[in-house]
Symmetry: C2
């Protein structure tokens, strides 16, 4: 087990540590067997479709999980932030695509330093100004870049094909930068619940991407890499055949939001691997109990978690502030006792993982390992 | 400066570190002068009303801030979770009230161990079952307890005066526990925007508390400590004179939610001391820009932050996923440039602080210190 495990032992956080039931709560629990099945299923899918996998590490922020994804055939990982990439590179992950522009002078200096240690580092750009500032810090060293193309979200990315071409020309004129291709992430489409509606929407956006690629190709800039997609669109992207690299993230851990989406397979191809286990700390009212998990234990942007253990069917979950939440049995018949465990599938995995220092890794309800959330808080 | 500062220097996170403008972003920024004014104002208020201050450390999770509150006259601090209390005790804070029940066998063992190092530790109880489990772990050592009284939220606390009396009798029968008084936190009333409506609501709830105290007093259980209140109700609580200890937390840092409440003084007695500074990473559309701060940089339970710098009047803020947000100038005239800083007053301070390892402490826009968020993530 890891150094984190020793720290937890030292702090007395592990008591009868062999059982999930005895973990101090709220605990971030990872089912290793499910994780491995999810990783294997996505790897098999990508292999069957001859599309590369570059899982997004912003979801798990974990060297241990990234290594398993690479061992299953991924070509590398994505990172959302420079600090996240630095943390994973320190852990030995060396093929990293930074999926958001790096713009400030100090961040670009750090990027150059990371590039020196991480030969396969790639970063997206979406503006000629950024091309100029990147070059000035690289001191002659070369860096691979992808042009980020905005699918219409107005978050990052060039706004149209002409802007992509202008940016390509800026990159071509920059001795330090090597144009490798495009990034195209249809974030607004990932969580459309209906597979057929998502298919229509992603198809439409992919037709637009083809016009961008056509203009670039006409000017000698056919992209080598076309990277994008997510857990919601991965089957559609593979079918349409324009992307050649999938940036899927959530599939490995899963969350309530994606579990509510039809992912286009027979049944859901991915299962809940991630949980927050919480404990009843107060039970003074019929049919309800207060848990020790609130806003600091789960991100709230995705609504409530799904209750997956420790409560009767039909029980509902309600956040109750920073430190607490409630579970309610509408029939008022369930009598929770102080100390009872309730297991929750998290509403949105990425920002929830970022709240914890440690994954408590279980197999068959037994604690088998503890993995650090390597890049937790490394958002800068 | 602190060890954290050395780590940041080592990682290259500080570049031209003397200026707030050059911080890597998103950064949690604390204005030291405002913090000290907020602490002094609350201390002067409490002193003038002869009510004790026990600031809630769940807000700031910081030994550095707790020390300043104690130096200004606070009798001790509150902690929401055992791990938080352990972290502050390691930092030398020794009068701590744990404001949520501690229930599991392993947590109670840790509590007993903390009690041995921290003579003034106190913990709330709300159920006779918990009294029994606490006693069994204390091994003869004594522990101060407060009865948590539910003001009607159904989160924690005994449900009525009779339950309070039954719990008092259980405590009286427990050799290891010393009854010290009551906790009463009107959480549902703190953020009522109108001071007069909040006054009516808190007055009503305080009349109920007086009935609980009356029954207890009739049975020889007049409380020594009556601890509760928050930033929203502190003036009302002091005026009503039933609480004798204020658990105010947010006043020291402040956030948008409390800034929108009339706190009952002439003008707001407290100013924004806490900010998230974010940077423009993409600016490809007229009148809008994308910032490097999303769900992982600010908690979302309190709505959007208030924009306090780097944007024209009337600009609006929009979360754009885990890593990004947008600022929009409705007049479409403001031209943000890549790298521009935008300063945000956070929506809800407590869960936002819990996302960061470090406060970047500034005075007059100059970085003067870095303080660890001592108890970040210590939610168990």
């Amino acid at each position: 087990m890891s150094r984190v495990h020793d720290i937890e032992l030292h702090r007395g956080l592990l008591h009868q540590a062999d059982s999930r039931r005895h973990l101090n709560t709220p605990a971030l629990v990872l089912d290793r067997d499910v994780l491995e099945r999810n990783i294997a299923r996505m790897a098999a899918f990508a292999s069957s479709k001859s599309i590369a996998l570059r899982p997004h590490a912003k979801t798990h922020k974990s060297v241990d999980i990234a290594r398993r994804q690479l061992a299953a055939g991924a070509v590398g990982v994505c990172c959302a932030k420079l600090g996240e990439a630095e943390a994973l590179a320190e852990g030995g992950i060396d093929d990293i695509l930074l999926t958001s522009p790096v713009v400030s002078p100090s961040a670009i200096q750090r990027l150059a330093s990371l590039r020196a240690r991480c030969a396969s580092l790639k970063v997206v750009v979406d503006n000629p100004t950024n091309v100029a500032t990147l070059c000035s810090a690289l001191g002659g060293e070369r860096l691979d870049v992808l042009i980020d193309v905005d699918p219409g979200i107005r978050r990052t990315g060039v706004a149209d094909a002409e802007a992509a071409l202008r940016l390509f020309k800026a990159i071509e004129g920059a001795r330090e930068l090597t144009y490798r291709g495009l990034q195209y992430y249809c974030g607004a489409q990932q969580h459309l619940p209906s597979f057929s509606e998502r298919h229509v929407a992603v198809h439409d956006r992919t037709q637009y991407l083809e016009t961008v690629i056509a203009l670039l190709s006409k000017h000698g800039a056919r992209p080598d890499i076309v990277s994008g997609g997510g857990t919601g669109s991965h089957r559609i992207d593979a079918e349409l055949g324009v992307l050649n690299e999938l940036q899927v993230g959530s599939y490995a851990l899963m969350d309530r939001q994606y579990a509510e989406c039809d992912l286009g397979a027979h049944g859901s191809p991915f299962e809940y691997a991630l949980f927050v286990d919480a404990r009843v700390v107060s039970a003074n009212h019929a049919g309800m109990a207060t848990l020790d998990a609130g806003f600091k234990a789960m991100s709230t942007d995705g609504g409530p978690p799904a209750i997956v253990g420790g409560a009767p069917p039909g029980a509902t979950f309600h956040f109750m502030g920073d430190e607490h939440s409630a579970v309610v049995d509408p029939s008022k018949t369930h009598a929770w006792r102080i100390g009872d465990l309730v297991s929750l599938a998290v509403p949105h995995c990425d920002p929830t993982v970022n709240l914890y220092d440690t994954y408590h890794v279980v197999s068959d309800e037994t604690l088998v390992d503890m993995w650090p959330v390597t890049a937790r808080g490394r958002g800068r």
